[in-house]
């Protein structure tokens, strides 16, 4: 990769005897939006906190814009806007005071742009931080991360707690950053969020980076299931060759089918309509389920379907 803004090589961190991350190596190009995916406890936050020099690595190195994240942390932080996973700020200051404080500490903040961000995310800056809802607390840290137009945004589960409208606004802000040639590195455990925002993803599991690739690779692993019950038995072959169907399993002596899907369900719905349908349930597997399916080789069947469409 030419011109990587983030270079991670063999990064390892443990907490006493407990695993943090193991031998993580990764490059992120300048100008891209990189999604860092993984289930809870996989090591996303540890990696991010190592980049932010909040943790000291046991081994390996992390560089941002060619600067060592630990040795040159102050210079590195001039380039960064950061949203922590669990925002905690002075509860006695108002949102506006917090933003003013961090604007002073950072320097170079365009006040007009700051006001725009406050309006875009519909934040009331006159309330004390302790009085904010979870979503509004998240807005404060998001604004402080974006307000100085940093070259690199490091965002740890940035939309957690935001309502759909504000999530959309956030997507727009990331998009604009990318359009201006800036870089975003965001962690998430929500596939759809990463799918919308990112151009490339890395997947971490149990402290190890298991996959890095374009967003198209994500489509390959994003399967879901449909279970259809009929008033009478139907042949599995009626669904096996349809577009989007990866696997078919018959249930209840043939009067139900469970379909492993990838892609559009249009063909399946049309085929099912040929028979007397009693119910149809759809289940989008959690990321954990995806990991289980793709990274375990013990041949276990996926979990029972849940959720009703």
């Amino acid at each position: 990769m030419t011109n990587p803004i983030i270079q991670i090589k063999g990064l390892t961190k443990s907490y006493g005897g407990k695993r943090g991350i193991v031998d993580v190596s990764l490059d992120v190009a300048e100008g891209e939006v990189f999604g860092f995916l993984g289930p809870n406890g996989a090591g996303k936050t540890t990696t991010i906190r190592l980049l932010m020099a909040l943790l000291h690595a046991d081994a390996g190195s992390a560089r941002i814009a060619g600067l060592d994240c630990w040795q040159q942390s102050v210079d590195v932080k001039r380039l960064i806007g950061y949203v922590p996973g669990e925002p905690s700020l002075d509860p006695n200051l108002t949102g506006g005071q917090i933003l003013d404080y961090f604007a002073h500490l950072r320097g170079g903040v365009d006040r007009a742009y700051l006001k725009t961000l406050i309006e875009r995310l519909d934040l009331d800056p006159n309330r004390k931080f302790r009085q904010y809802s979870t979503g509004n607390k998240r807005k404060v840290v998001l604004i402080q991360a974006f307000m100085h137009r940093p070259r690199l945004l490091i965002l740890d589960e940035p939309t957690s707690g935001l309502d759909p409208l504000n999530q959309q606004e956030f997507d727009g802000m990331v998009q604009e950053a990318r359009d201006e040639g800036r870089t975003a590195f965001l962690s998430s455990h929500v596939l759809s969020e990463v799918e919308k925002t990112c151009s490339r993803v890395g997947i971490i599991r149990e402290g190890r980076l298991v996959k890095v690739g374009d967003i198209a690779d994500l489509k390959d692993i994003k399967r879901y299931e449909i279970t259809i019950s009929f008033a009478r038995p139907v042949p599995a072959s009626a669904f096996a060759k349809l577009d989007g169907v990866v696997d078919v399993e018959t249930l209840n002596n043939g009067s139900a089918v469970r379909l492993a899907m990838q892609g559009a369900a249009d063909a399946v719905i049309k085929a099912a309509a040929q028979y007397p349908v009693v119910s149809l349930t759809s289940y989008e597997p959690s990321l954990e389920d995806v990991f289980l399916r793709f990274y375990e080789s013990d041949g276990q069947a996926p979990r029972e379907a849940a959720g009703v469409a």
């Binding site: 909040l54 102050v74 932080k77 922590p84 925002p87 003013d100 320097g107 006040r111 009331d124 800056p125």
Partner: protein, 548 residues
């Protein structure tokens, strides 16, 4: 078993304080009693103590102070109130702390009502206090038995029970106050202030005639009515019941309010106490120009400003009050001192007008650095709590070096410490002039300003400990060290401990500056020790993992 109920879970959380405070203060009483023959060993020494008693009556009523029980009650009856610090901290956090952490929401999602939850916690607190009282009582009895005193087991246990009751009163008040405050530390600070006010109000009737009615407003007055360690006296059942009633009323009011208010909110204060600000302003602009938001140092200064103002009031106010007391005591004590060289040695005082005034005041001024160091403990706690709560995370994502952040905050604390000391100096000079109590200005300056290195030493040690320990443990340990230092300096000289032992206490290096001026070498030692602690704290902080 310990996790089978809220009561047992809470009690489990109290096991270290029960042992720490119960055994710590119990051993103190045992040691004091066991070593009394060295203080009251000769008829002359006993006579000197008896002669000294009335002059320090403002501090504690002197009754049979030439006996082990009388001496211990006189000298340690008031200082043992330090045990109230723990219930104040614990009960201010009992409900408010759980709300701060968000764990109260989960707790109240259980099929138990709020009153039941709070009652189980209060019951655990009372169990802990009673066990503490029992430990103190048993060890006091053991100390008394060692010197063949006439302190009976029941009297010693009543002594411990009385301590548990007064501690319970201030714990219950902290619980009540915490219903009105958004933060537990505010409730703890207000209640600690009330404790100090109660101590002073109790003193008033022993200094100013016909003010018994005023002192009766203080719970400490009822605590002092019981003197079970003194032969011929006993616990005052009515007074103990009064303490129990104050506790029950305060806890009951706290419970009543807790059951009715919003979780995470506070009880609405009467309109008179509310600030005049209305609702949110419609503007979305960020207000600019506040001095306190311009740097880490300025923000640190703003954070410490309110507590520093209260502590200034307490410390400078205490200094002023001590001068008034000194003025009352001076004439009486001067006569006694002039008549007994032994007594002069006993209280380690000088003679002559200015010197005598300074000597009396110097004996009282030992409390001033203690208070300033207690202030430093609270501020060191704030530093480590900020890390525990994740508040340094975003701050350290700005282009500020870790060292700069630590030193900025420490500089703000240093500024507050200097401010408190300077105001105390000014108040001492003004009050001594106003009351006509002559004091050496240079020595007064030495006495007030040489507290600064002690305060900063404690703060630096707190910062150092926070490099490894969580805020609660760091504060507990630092408070414990402070109490140990205080008692080494308070009881060590009376028990003729060797100089090497006395040097273990930071107060040793404070000396008696009102009498003998600034102990330059010792002050330099404290400054150097503080600088080393701060240096080590900085080294640790720039290298450590920041808590998530």
């Amino acid at each position: 078993m310990w996790l089978s109920s809220i009561y047992l879970k809470s009690l489990r959380g109290f096991r270290v304080p029960i042992l720490g405070w119960g055994l710590g203060l119990g051993v103190l009483m045992a040691v004091v009693l066991a070593a009394l023959p060295t203080v009251l060993g000769t008829p002359e020494a006993r006579a000197a103590v008896v002669a000294l008693g009335p002059s320090f009556a403002w501090f504690s009523e002197p009754i049979k102070i030439d006996t082990p029980g009388g001496y211990a009650t006189w000298k340690y009856g008031l200082t043992i109130l330090v045990v109230a610090i723990w219930p104040i901290l614990a009960e201010s956090a009992m409900l408010r702390g759980e709300e701060d952490r968000g764990s109260m929401d989960v707790l109240l999602s259980l099929p138990r009502n709020r009153t039941r939850v709070a009652l189980e916690k209060i019951a655990a607190m009372w169990t802990a206090l009673l066990i503490m009282g029992l430990l103190i009582g048993l060890l006091t009895f053991a100390g008394g038995a060692k010197v063949s005193s006439d302190i009976s087991l029941s009297a010693a246990i009543l002594f411990g029970l009385n301590i548990a009751l007064i501690a319970g009163v201030f714990g219950a008040v902290a619980l009540l106050v915490s219903q009105f405050t958004q933060e537990r530390r505010t409730a703890a600070g207000v209640t600690a202030g009330l404790l100090m006010v109660s101590v002073v109000v109790d003193m008033v009737h022993r200094v100013v005639p016909h003010t018994q009615w005023l002192s009766q407003l203080s719970p400490v007055y009822y605590f002092n009515l019981s003197k079970p360690l003194i032969s011929g006296y006993s616990a005052n059942g009515g007074a103990m019941l009064a303490l129990l009633a104050i506790s029950a009323l305060s806890s009951g009011a706290g419970l009543w309010l807790f059951a009715r208010r919003d979780i995470g909110g506070v009880v609405a204060r009467p309109r008179f106490f509310r600030s005049g600000r209305g609702g949110s302003r419609p503007t979305r602009a960020v207000v600019q120009g506040a001095w306190s938001l311009r740097s880490v140092y300025a923000r640190g200064l703003a954070m410490v400003a309110v507590p520093a103002a209260w502590w200034t009031l307490a410390i400078a106010g205490f200094a002023g009050w001590m001068i008034v007391v000194d003025k009352q005591t001076e004439a009486n004590l001067r006569t006694v001192l002039q008549g007994s060289s032994l007594l002069r040695n006993f209280v380690n005082l000088g003679g002559g007008d200015v010197a005598t005034n300074a000597a009396i005041l110097g004996a009282l001024f030992i409390f001033m650095p203690v208070m300033l160091m207690a202030f430093a403990v609270t501020q060191a706690n704030r530093w480590s709590a900020d890390e525990d709560d994740g508040r340094l995370e975003v701050l350290l994502s700005t282009p500020q070096s870790r060292l700069g952040v630590l030193l900025g905050r420490f500089a703000a604390l240093s500024t507050a410490t200097v401010f408190i000391s300077v105001v105390t100096l000014v108040v001492t000079v003004v009050v001594s002039s106003a009351t006509g109590l002559p004091l050496d200005a240079g020595h007064v300056a030495a006495a007030t300003l040489s507290m600064i290195p002690l305060g900063l030493l404690v703060a630096a040690i707190g910062y150092l400990l926070s490099g490894w320990l969580r805020a609660a443990v760091e504060t507990g340990l630092l408070s414990f060290v402070l109490v140990i230092w205080f008692f080494i300096s308070y009881i060590g000289p009376s028990l003729h401990w060797p100089d090497a032992a006395l040097r273990l206490s930071a107060f040793y290096y404070y000396g008696t500056p009102l009498v003998s001026g600034l102990p330059l070498f010792d002050t330099v030692v404290v400054v150097l020790a503080g600088a080393v602690a701060l240096g080590l704290a900085s080294l640790r902080f720039v290298r450590k993992d920041i808590a998530a």
